[in-house]
Symmetry: C2
Subunit: 204 residues, 2 copies
Amino acid sequence: MTSEGVGPGTVRPGGRTARVRTAVLRAAGDVLAEHGLAGLDLADVARRAEAGKTTVYRRWGTPANLVADLLTDMAEQSLPRTETGTLLGDLRANARLVQRTLADPRQGALFRAVIAAATCDREAAAALRRFYDVRVTEWEPCARQAVERGELPEGTDTREVIRAVSAPLYYRLLTTDEPLDEAAADRAAEAAVAAARAGVFTRE
Amino acid sequence: MTSEGVGPGTVRPGGRTARVRTAVLRAAGDVLAEHGLAGLDLADVARRAEAGKTTVYRRWGTPANLVADLLTDMAEQSLPRTETGTLLGDLRANARLVQRTLADPRQGALFRAVIAAATCDREAAAALRRFYDVRVTEWEPCARQAVERGELPEGTDTREVIRAVSAPLYYRLLTTDEPLDEAAADRAAEAAVAAARAGVFTRE
């Protein structure tokens, strides 16, 4: 599964409770990808997951809580970063991972839906922020190592460098119908490197 | 009204139909800012706008159509670009306009709501794309003039330069709870200039 570190379909060990959660989150992801946030109904998710309706209502309660738990799971299953030895190589790997995720029909629709959920629910917004925090923390060492190698100026805000790679890809997804292709990914990585080298992300 | 070219409250000339539209779109913007997309109800909008319920249902039909018309109106009322004589000056003015809009409680909430609407409705998505097309078209000459002045390489995709300014600000709004301050705006402008100068946005 191509993903920004997302693999809700992965089979994981665990008891009955863990298996139910896996099935429910998988079903929730399917519903969000197919019908968006407005189509997320707990009874429907329970039916698809072959889980008890009462269990699902008791454990998650609201669609927003389900979205928040899905994001927690997505963060837990994050893919590790790639290290290539150069900042541009590392950030290109990061950009292509984000691009493949957002360009994938299921994952792209899922991310659109969780971003929509975050705009109207505090719980979902906090979970979305935690998801990106985890992803930035995973990739931040690539920028830190670039500072250590002398590729970037001392005092660079290394988390901001990683965010700069994702920003144009998400902006393109949400506000244009232009293709999210590999060229867009490479441009995002190159733009982040050029700005970081120029000292734009250096803390005052 | 601070805005990315948005002034639904502006008094404009026109007949009764135009006045009704102005009042309805103003009310729709208020509801979206206060309650998000999920709270947008045509009967409530009609009541707030002191317009006939039948008129509102006949003219807009669905919340998504109302969002689309609001975006059309926002695009029509776009503020003109600032020209300062340098690319960095122009893009900083653009970044600060976007930042002030998104940092404003009403406008920020309104933009969150219309982005959410665009994730789940084709009509709203098309209207959102048209809104950004209009904004990019308004500001693109700043980058084109920079190419003509020799500040940027020939063959630069000048629309992409303008989009690069907005992207980190929207990404910050949607995925973090970090402040959207003037420093973030200036950093967005500087990053776009550094990347554009390095030739990142040059078409192959």
